[in-house]
Subunit: 657 residues, 2 copies
């Protein structure tokens, strides 16, 4: 089987620029605010092959190609390479001054992941490739998601075209005469009616009647067309990701089921070439959003290809001279997400390819530590944490917890790639940082982690550091209990108003066994959006706001995204904590199923694993697990542990208690 | 005046990929063997302006653009930016996923070198720009050298079209009927007659009679056309650099005049978008060749724009993880060439923009020093020196001399940019290295510098280290005399067979006052090529070879380039040492004129300076200098020093002795 190949991560880096370039708002292209790398332009691909008899290969390239065998150039240009019998080194250099250099060979030697790639004549690395590009005509440069034509669901009295729910795609329409047109998009009806006060529109001119235009891809539920167009002619080429949703969830509570459904749809819309933050705005790849998508991915698509595309694109090329997305926290999230992908898939190839880039990211980060070894946001950094107003100066406990987690992961990665000295150093640094965190930030009086140290004074109380410390297992039992009581279930830490951080709050509470409290919150908060008619989850939701205030953000009346993947958290929460499925060893080599009814009479559903899936049905009377997972499972129910044997092929393993 | 602007050095890096991609041989594209960077894809341009009254600017961009004033996005897409009165910060972000992001504003605020550019939202740098692109329609992406249509000079009995001398351009021809064609190019008649044993050809097919094709740009003197083409229809769009040759040289010796003329023409052909090595092959930018071109440039075009384009392109982007052109020596040559450009022009802007990249190049180099602090070629490096057979293992004295010169230059650059700690460190390192060189490599018995130390044994005798040590002023008077006698004028060091290293040999001998010996060598060696009919100087010339052996190289019958800029050395040698003009302070703030008749009755000519020129006429009877140079000059003749006053405008200053 032959695949197109390229320099590792360059396809992803190239694609990201194309995708992020599609962001437009207020009629302008909106360029990314971080360094946007381009692929290397001259790449040598190499493989040492052995053939019993002389053969040949057909050559296809994105760019110009130069063929050498054993260091001697081929005698003439040829789309057909003559391959002598025996063991020889085939080297094809591809140069493309306008885009990604890529190569496809089919014949007696075929391009695949066994080729090496090199851009400086010296450092040969395993090449990049993707199962997406498995034929000469399926070229990486032509990659687009599939589309299908759909008609509107209806038309509103105010003259809006209504697609029935949030959608993403290319509006098509046909003119009734010559003349200018303007198409206004709205995630809400209010936005579509707001003209140029909305976020996105398209303007143009028909030269004659009967002309059909296909506009750029946009997010919308509603469309308003001004100009010589019969609104009945308006259709859409809906763009979709083509992936199979491999999870399911149901329970007796219809509100929870509805929340799961809308969350899943939100995740579906934001899962495009990459895991994007939202589909109206920004349509960009952000590490904070990406980590959550990677976590949700393991309870939905289990599509590691999208996850790794996202993570490779986020990191870009060397040198690492600014935090990912310019945000201090996001470098840590990126490292955590790389590990998350490994831990669920058990496939270390991606970490192998990314390890040097993880190290250089951490080297950069460590260049800005305080005297006590705490990471401190510099003037050049955006210290984000969350949109809530808070002081972000000095040493934030939250950032230290993330750094500790990242160092811990780096030590594990170092072990995976066999870098023992690195492993020891990262372990030691993680331990020292952990001690420092408790020494400095643990507030004995309050019984929780403080928010920050600023000019020598430890101060402030927010939910961020305690909930991440809880989630990442940094706390012993006493401290965990204290933090739950004194921060997570207390009222004196400011309430979180983004689904983004709500997600981690729910995750931490779930880990603390507070499933009933979580479900109450989810029904209240996520359900609150559904009550307002949401067909996808929003970027931000403050139940105390009213009317059109729900649509405003960034000082713009419709600045808020109404389809934001960081709101799809229930996809993860329900699979992981209600169905209760999670790996305990990389790649589900071992896993546990720990269902949680949370006061309901039943929960039912399934969760994907690297090979196969794990279906769970729990009632008060007992649990049934059907697994086609090759790992050793354990069903944990009411304090009892029941082994789930490894699936050997054939029918699913069924275990009942 | 408005100019297109870009992220510093990205235009040059982008153009280099396009230019180097044009190398083709044996019908195949021949990709560069080094890392070929692409420009950043999302660049923010920024300027704080002050306007008395509200104004506007027209916007042109290569890519999509997003406009903010004082951090607030403009209300709507507009090619016309409204600029409020007062002092404001204008920020235009440009993103281009397919090429160089570039911006042009004209109106009340105009783009020029006063804008800053940034690719990561943090590190703002002075933008890149060029006087070439001073109108909306003169876009950087469209940059091509000019062409003019020429007819062949004649037709040979063997059926070759003869352009009369080496030329570079696009062959045009018209078909007499449908059918396939093949066009064979030759720098020599033999090559054009050799069919596909030659280096370059173009194949194609005419679909009908009367079709005209314009083939890719190629180097040639001769062309052979196979196919349905009347050879009388064959013409050429000659591509030329459009620069003014600002130097002149004549003397009583016609052979020297002819050598100067052919050298100048060689330089002209190789001075294209960049200083290229040669025009048939490689058509690439190599630092070893570029340094010589930069030196010759100051005695010919004095076109710093081409020099800086070349040097910026050579360095590429960060990280520096492999030597320039993959060659150890070439990193040093690149540093030396940056300084050479500064010293002759006196304009430190380029060094300012390049200093950080010089430092990172040196940091990389210093990571591979031996225990004694000597630089040693690693397995990943190409240690070139010269094509002559020699041992290149271990510590080569030649590389140490280059490293010493590079460290010395870095200390001077550090001083220029105000990096005092760097200056001190580089000074100390240079001094230590110099001591080490003499301690280890000075051969008291032979009275010269040895070739190498290998496995503890100092051994070998070549011309390279001695002549560079002499040229760069590393030797005291005694050692200089010894080296001239014991190496340069001795016969026991192997003879040099490339004009490349011959150039430095002649330069060192000129410095040592051996002008007559140099002219004898030049007439013999360079003249030897002219005797064989050369219309441009060759890549390699070994007078002992015979017949077609002169055309062979790299194991290919016509692999040798017959137009190679490293052969144009006489352009430099005659201007610098016969007319005797050279700056003694940066930018010709002070300079000297030290004519040398070398046994002739007269030499005459002129040399360009940053502003104006210096014309010299010397005979046994005396010297006349006409200068329009603003610096303080000194005419040195027969041991006497005569001041040349600074030119104040108006007529040239004339000084006679």
């Amino acid at each position: 089987m032959a695949y197109w190949i390229w320099f590792p991560h360059d396809f992803e880096i190239d694609l990201r620029a194309k995708v992020e370039m599609r962001r437009e708002e207020h009629g302008m292209t909106c360029p990314s605010i971080w360094r946007m790398d381009a692929p290397g332009r001259a790449i040598a691909f190499q493989k040492t092959y052995t053939l019993d008899r002389a053969g040949s290969a057909r050559l296809y390239a994105q760019g110009g190609a130069y063929v050498c065998i054993d260091g001697v150039s081929a005698p003439d240009r040829s789309d057909r390479i003559a391959l002598p019998a025996g063991t020889h080194t085939l080297n094809v250099a591809v140069m493309n001054p306008n885009g990604l250099p890529a190569l496809y060979l089919e014949g007696d030697v075929e391009t695949d992941g066994s080729f090496l790639a090199c851009e400086n004549n010296v450092d040969f690395l395993p090449c990049g490739w993707s199962a997406l590009f498995d034929a000469p005509e399926r070229r990486p440069m032509d990659y687009r998601l599939p589309t299908r034509r759909v008609r509107p669901a209806g038309y509103t009295p105010e003259g809006l075209i209504d697609f029935g729910r949030e959608v993403f795609g290319f509006v098509r329409m046909t003119s009734t005469s010559a003349g200018p047109y303007c198409v206004f998009y709205g995630e809400s009806a209010q936005e579509a009616l707001a003209g140029k006060r909305g976020e996105t529109w398209d303007e143009g001119r028909f030269e004659a009647a009967g002309e059909t235009v296909r506009l750029p891809s946009r997010a919308m539920r509603y469309v308003r067309v001004a100009g010589p167009v019969d609104e009945k002619s308006v259709e859409m080429d809906l763009e979709y990701n083509g992936l199979a949703w491999r999870a399911a969830f149901s329970c007796e509570d219809e509100r929870l089921e509805a929340i799961y459904k809308v969350s899943a749809y939100t995740m579906e819309l934001c899962t495009r070439e990459f895991f994007l933050d939202g589909i109206k705005r920004d349509r960009w790849v952000w590490a904070g959003d990406a980590l959550q998508s990677v976590m949700m991915n393991h309870y939905s698509y289990f599509d590691s290809a999208t996850a790794r595309r996202t993570l490779a694109a986020l990191r870009g090329r060397e040198p690492f001279n600014q935090h990912i997305n310019t945000i201090l926290d996001y470098t840590f999230y990126w490292i955590i997400a790389v590990w998350e992908d490994y831990f669920f898939t058990g496939d270390s190839a991606f970490i192998q390819s990314m390890y040097a880039k993880m190290v250089s990211a951490m080297n950069y980060t460590r260049a800005f530590l305080s005297a006590d070894g705490f990471v401190v946001g510099q003037k050049r950094d955006w210290v984000f944490v969350d949109w809530a107003p808070m002081s972000k100066e000095g040493e934030l406990c939250f950032e230290q917890v993330l750094m500790w987690k990242a160092l811990t992961i780096l030590s594990q990665c170092a072990q995976l790639v066999g870098a023992e000295a690195d492993r020891e150093r990262y372990c030691a640094e993680a331990d020292a940082l952990r001690s420092g965190i408790f020494k400095v930030f643990w507030d004995e009086k309050k019984g929780t982690l403080a928010h920050q140290r600023l000019e020598g004074v430890v101060q402030g109380h927010t939910r961020y550091a305690p909930m991440f410390a809880l989630m990442y297992g940094m706390l012993d039992e006493d401290k965990a209990r204290a933090v739950i009581q004194n921060t997570l279930l207390a009222e004196d830490a400011p309430v979180i108003t983004t689904p983004y951080m709500r997600f981690y709050e729910m995750e931490a509470l779930m880990r603390a066994g507070k499933a009933r409290e979580v479900l109450r919150e989810v029904k209240d908060y996520w359900g609150g959006m559904l009550d307002l008619g949401a067909t996808s989850i929003w970027e931000q939701f403050d139940p105390t706001e009213e009317g059109d205030a729900h649509y405003a953000m960034y000082g713009r009346p419709f600045g808020r995204s109404l389809c934001h993947c960081w709101g799809a958290g229930p996809v993860y929460l329900f699979g992981r904590y209600l169905l209760g499925v999670s790996p305990t060893e990389p790649g589900y080599a071992a896993y546990e199923v720990r269902p949680e009814l949370a006061g309901m009479r039943h929960v039912r559903g399934k969760v994907p694993a690297p090979q196969g899936e794990i279906a769970v049905e729990a009632t008060e009377a007992g649990v049934t697990v059907r697994s086609t997972c090759k790992g050793r499972g354990t069903l944990i129910w009411k304090g009892e542990s029941v082994p789930i044997p490894a699936w050997q092929g054939g029918e699913a393993v069924v275990v009942r208690v």
